[in-house]
């Protein structure tokens, strides 16, 4: 709602002044409480048997002692630089996708496929003189990033396919895609992933069935595709019939029409919602701790399981929350910036 004419709405009347002072005092009190806990009263170094020597605030020494476990899981200690570089590659890949100049289908696909390949080569090893590390030993943030990128690489094409099916004039295709999408959307992510993990061994051939991670990724990708396809569907529907007709009038084949005319515009229109979906997918990877994957949440849990550090669960969870927050918040802000940029000239 609009501010008052003076602009400084919070000083407009005496009652408001009172409310402002009270609210400000409350916020300040919270800030001081947090500051005392996190900084002034905190301990940063491990004092041996009684870590932090009874500091009344946070005991950040637990992060110093356990951050490798939280970030890289049970990956071999001397090889953890590979995990680190692999994570940085993913970050660079996401950052590159945020540059509007690179928004060409071929470039984006190229960036993601090559980034993902580099990630796997670094993590898995077995070539270029790197020792082999199987997926069972992956964990922590690097496993979270692996699941996330794999989910998007599988899920995004699937969502495009589903969205095209749902927008086609063919009743049968529309119906089939609708059933799949609505079915997945009405059950929890946990149930989809769990169901996929249980079903896959019965359906998939043995060579695809080596590790639980792949089954879970398959379920997660299906889930992502179902949600993303409705976003793309809305984008396609907002493009307007004239575009498709113009494409046909110019003599483009249907697939050229989709690929060159409709989908690029649909993606542009669906961009803010897509970014929201990407953010919530990243946060949703934490659910996989329940089906037994050793991702970020699970490694946080393990980090506080030893007797010495079990009392410092708040510090560990705050640290993990900060990681999720950093990714999620920066992507959200980027989405808001894009939305504002797209709105220019439309009001």
């Amino acid at each position: 709602m609009q501010r008052g004419p003076a602009g400084l709405g919070f000083l407009s009347s005496w009652l408001n002044v009172g409310i402002s002072i009270l609210a400000a005092a409350f916020l300040l009190w919270l800030l001081v409480l947090f500051g005392k806990w996190a900084f002034w009263d905190s301990a940063w170094s491990d004092a041996g048997a009684d870590p932090c020597g009874g500091a009344s605030g946070a005991c950040w020494a637990v992060i110093g002692a356990r951050y490798r476990l939280i970030l890289f899981g049970l990956y071999p200690y001397e090889e953890q630089w590979r995990s680190l570089v692999a994570c940085l590659v993913v970050v660079a890949m996401v950052a590159a996708s945020c540059v509007p100049r690179l928004w060409r289908a071929k470039w984006l696909i190229g960036i993601w496929i090559s980034g993902f390949t580099v990630f796997i080569v670094l993590m898995q090893g077995g070539v270029f003189g790197l020792s082999e590390v199987t997926t069972e030993r992956w964990g922590g943030l690097s496993l979270t990033l692996f699941i996330y990128t794999a989910t998007i690489i599988i899920g995004m094409p699937l969502s495009v396919l589903l969205a095209i099916m749902r927008c086609s004039d063919d009743r049968v295709l529309r119906f089939l895609a609708g059933v799949v999408v609505d079915f997945i959307r009405s059950i929890p992510l946990l149930a989809v992933v769990f169901g996929a993990a249980i079903f896959a061994p019965f359906v998939l051939p043995g060579w695809l069935n080596t590790d639980n991670v792949y089954r879970v990724i398959l379920g997660f990708a299906l889930f992502f595709a179902a949600y993303q396809s409705t976003i793309l569907q809305a984008g396609i529907q907002s493009v307007g019939l004239g575009q498709g007709e113009a494409a046909r009038a110019l003599g483009l084949t249907p697939s050229q029409g989709w690929w060159l005319v409709i989908l690029p515009q649909a993606f542009r229109k669906a961009l803010p919602a897509t970014i929201n979906q990407l953010v919530s997918t990243f946060k949703d990877t934490s659910v996989l701790v329940i089906v037994g994957l050793f991702e970020l949440m699970a490694s946080a849990k393990v980090a506080i399981q030893t007797g010495k550090w079990s009392d410092y669960y708040i510090e560990v969870y705050v640290f993990v929350a900060l990681i999720y927050f950093a990714v999620s918040y920066s992507l959200t802000r980027y989405g808001a910036y894009l939305e504002a940029r797209m709105r220019v000239g439309q009001d």
């Binding site: 916020l27 959307r185 946990l190 949600y227 946060k283 999720y324």
Partner: protein, 386 residues
Amino acid sequence: MVVSLSNTNVRRFILQATAVGLFLALVIGTAVQVADSLQKQGMVYGWAFLGQPTGWDISAAPLAHAASDPYWWTILLGLLNTLVLALVCIVVTTILGFLVGLGRLSRNFVISFGCRLYTDIFRNVPSILQIVFWYQIILHLPQERRAVPLPGGAFISNRGIYLPGLEATNGNLCLAVGLILMAMLIAASPLGRRLGRGRGTVLAAAAGAIVALTLWFGAPVTIQLPHLHGFSFENGLRVPAEFAAVLIGLSVLGTAYVAEIVRGGIQSIGRGPVEAGRALGLHEWMIDWKIRIPLGLRAIVLPLGNQYLITVKNTSLGAAIGYSDLFAITSNSINMNGHTFEMLGVMVGLYLVVNYCLSLMINWFNARVALKGARSIGRQPAGGRA
């Protein structure tokens, strides 16, 4: 007719046939594979297990439960746990979310900043992290013997929260409920409609009668305060630690989402109605209460409904800390009795039914409040969406 690939109808037929064929092949192939592996592993497909006792007890439920309960009853309790948790979450997040959302739009800079801080922080942290975090906090609270008293006679300990409970004392409760029902019936009947604004008087009279009855005969319900007896609490209502943790986690998060929905809805109304209000000389806060908020509410209904559907599905995250909801019961049953496909089917079916009923209600409500002929507000229906 010449059959050639350049013919649109032929191409369409081939496309359809391929799609249907692939879909059927997937379904039938899965079924055959599943039947085959079931046979190989000596698993039996059948529904008789639903009547057999489970042999394991669930952690908490609003109704009586024991290890000797049959599977169908345990599953129903799981569903009940899911629904109760979702309902409480929905009520809490709606109330708090409206407060925070309106707070964000406040002209008071400090309040809107505080509310923005809240939504920004909690929307960007995964729900399961919040649930596990609050659960750890509760588990590290003192034991029951040294439970921390809360305002209003409640206590909190590492086994959960003890709230004052309500207990019906005598026939007065029936009388009071009867009076309320009668007053509501009169207010809703054609007679009440003719009374117009007088309907309020009818309800007020009923309320007065109940107060008089209470003063004369004693209260229809009494409040039972929890108190420590030996090592545990007596009386009152115990909210188990798992329930409390999931409730707090999902509510903190849900409030942030509802607040954003409320803010977006109210901001989405056009400049026209507000300027009309100004032209009529309404005071700025009259414009808020009579124009912005009522119009915004219409735009809020559908996204809010979607948020409710998400809440129902999110209750499954309680499985992470051992809350016995539908998902937890299902996965436990599969571990125990090996009836994998039957149990998966039951769980998925129940989630579908719950979701479908809820989205029917949302769409019905939306159709009722939508402005007639207003295209911009009736966006897409909430059918099974989230």
